[in-house]
């Protein structure tokens, strides 16, 4: 250990000491945290690799004439759609499971700002993964089946819907993470809840409410075809129940809970 001692007097007001870290900086830090750990980095490598694999396989099977942008996009988005919410969960829960919350919340005591930064960072990552997926899908379609008729039909609305799909999934992940503050239960719930709900509402009694509350179906159809107004209404109510509500509960939990892990 160095025996050097510091001789300067304890600082009197240097620049930056009284400046609150801006939201932009907090967002940048949260993005950095997503890639600077082994788990986070591997998850993102996995998303890119799986997207490439899925698109290649999708293009190798079946009739080349059916390989339109629309038909490949649905498959190509799946890796990101499945893994992004997991990343969203970890972004919140690692502060507890890895106990970094002791540091994070001490440096940023206003917890709502931190949660806001995490949300914005996760949305930015979702958009980045969307761009990655669309690039891989488009490149694959161009290489594998150039000149198929109507290859690019509805590309713009489908990309828009895909953006909603990925960002909404990401926010659901962040929200579940914020509610449970533990990685494993949140990840289990992320996959078990929509499936269980689907089982419940498949009962004939619930046939009326099913489309309005089935979040998995609402998200799923976004990457398949251009949605009708009714389908958007279904998606709206489902996302309010499964995304907005959990996010509010999670935010309430995080701002009140003791950071004592």
């Amino acid at each position: 250990m160095s025996t050097t001692t510091l001789t300067a007097p304890i600082r009197v007001n240097t620049a930056g000491v009284h400046a609150r870290p801006g939201l932009g900086r907090l967002v940048a830090v949260e993005l950095r945290k997503m890639v600077d750990t082994r788990a986070g980095f591997r998850l993102q490598v996995a998303m890119v690799a799986l997207t490439v694999v899925v698109v290649v396989v999708r293009l190798l099977v079946g009739d080349a004439a059916h390989h339109t942008f629309q038909s490949v996009l649905d498959a190509g988005l799946q890796p990101s759609a499945v893994l992004l919410p997991v990343l969203g969960i970890l972004l919140v829960t690692s502060e507890w499971s890895q106990r970094t919350g002791l540091i994070t919340f001490a440096l940023v005591p206003v917890r709502s700002r931190l949660l806001g930064a995490k949300l914005i960072a996760s949305l930015l990552l979702a958009v980045a993964m969307l761009a990655m997926s669309i690039t891989v899908v488009a490149a694959g379609v161009l290489v594998a089946s150039p000149g198929v008729e109507a290859t690019w039909s509805d590309a713009a609305p489908l990309i828009g819907q895909s953006a909603v799909n990925l960002t909404a999934g990401m926010v659901v992940g962040v929200a579940l993470g914020a509610i449970l503050l533990a990685s494993a239960p949140a990840i289990v719930l992320l996959f078990a809840l929509p499936a269980s709900w689907m089982a419940v509402v498949s009962l004939p009694v619930f046939s009326g409410v099913a489309p309005w509350t089935d979040y998995a179906r609402a998200l799923g159809q976004m990457t398949e075809k251009v949605m009708s107004a009714t389908q958007w209404a279904h998606a709206g109510t489902s996302l309010t129940i499964w995304m907005v509500l959990p996010l509010l509960i999670g935010a309430w939990r995080i701002t009140r809970r003791e950071i004592a892990s």
């Binding site: 250990m1 300067a8 304890i10 400046a19 440096l107 003791e258």
Partner: protein, 312 residues
């Protein structure tokens, strides 16, 4: 400066911190001493806004911690050296915090060097660190923002003797430059060697606080004599409480001079007469933190009237 007033916190129906009031001045090192589970950590968490007190207030540098715009630049915290992401590299763990508080990246390297983590260690993931390395990383983290106040929970944990000496030098130097230091420990020796003031906490309450001299207003004397029976009789006649000590000695609760006079009055020859301050502080710590189970506690209570009832 750190100031608390009547901090109280219940967790799980149990009062873990009860009416804790203290003040740490700039230029001093304050030792926060108590057994594990006495409430040190909870108190420190309340200081920095990680835990909300049920009642009472905590102020740092004149205001609430959470009202500090960029707290990392003014208050350095080490609450738990193991609270780092296991999958993050040592340098990156510091760099993330430096990024948050807007400290230049070069400072990360300067601090890694200061705490003695070399390039290999800085590149390793924190999960592979030994406790001592984590503790050093924690020190680097606490000093990263060039703070005016340091709040350190059990910082000596896992440090080797050389590392402890280094830590003491660092804290002394920090305080001499006008900084405020609050450090906790469950080991008296760690705190005693560096602290200007000490607070002893037990069962969630501050049992005693003051400088070392203030805590030892009563002095005790170690006495050796060939005629132990005669010595006991002489001390008894002089009204001095006497306890057996190691190696056929006696621990007398009085100044050496008083003991000598009492012995002389009875013509008892003393072979050794020495103040027993360390034993006194250790005993005081033990008594105060074990709920007054010791048979000598009534005398302690009369000597420290401000503590009366605190150990009940």
């Amino acid at each position: 400066m750190i100031q608390t007033n009547g901090l109280t916190k219940q967790l799980g129906g149990r009062t873990v911190v009860s009416n804790v009031t203290f003040r740490c001045e700039p230029g001093t090192v304050t030792g926060f001493l108590g057994p594990n589970g006495a409430g040190k950590t909870t108190t420190m968490r309340m200081l920095v806004g990680l835990s909300e007190p049920d009642s009472g207030t905590a102020r740092i540098l004149g205001g609430r911690y959470r009202d500090l715009p960029n707290p990392g630049r003014r208050v350095g915290i080490l609450l738990d050296a193991s609270a780092q992401h296991a999958g993050r590299r040592g340098r990156e763990a510091l760099a993330v915090s430096a990024h948050t508080m807007g400290v230049p990246a070069q400072r990360v390297d300067a601090l890694l060097e200061l705490v003695g983590l070399d390039e290999t260690a800085a590149r390793r993931r924190v999960g592979k660190y030994s406790l001592g390395m984590r503790q050093r990383l924690g020190f680097a983290h606490a000093l990263l923002g060039d703070p005016e106040v340091l709040i350190l929970d059990e910082p000596a944990n896992g440090l080797d003797p050389q590392g402890m000496r280094w830590m003491r030098g660092l804290l002394r130097n920090f305080a001499d430059r006008g900084g405020t230091v609050l450090l906790s420990s469950h080991l008296l020796a760690e705190v005693e060697a560096v602290a200007d003031r000490m607070m002893i906490i037990g069962g969630g309450r501050i049992q005693a606080q003051g400088t070392r001299a203030e805590l030892l207003t009563e002095s005790r004397t170690i006495v050796e004599a060939d005629d132990l029976a005669g010595l006991d009789a002489a001390m008894h006649r002089g009204g001095l409480a006497t306890h057996p000590a190691d190696g056929d000695r006696r621990l007398v609760e009085a100044e050496p001079e008083v003991v000598a006079r009492a012995a002389m009055a009875d013509g008892v020859v003393l072979r050794r007469l020495a103040p027993a301050e360390d034993a006194g502080l250790e005993r005081l710590f033990f008594e105060l933190t074990t709920g007054g189970a010791s048979p000598q506690s009534p005398q302690t209570d009369s000597i420290h009237p401000e503590l009366a009832g605190a150990t009940a």
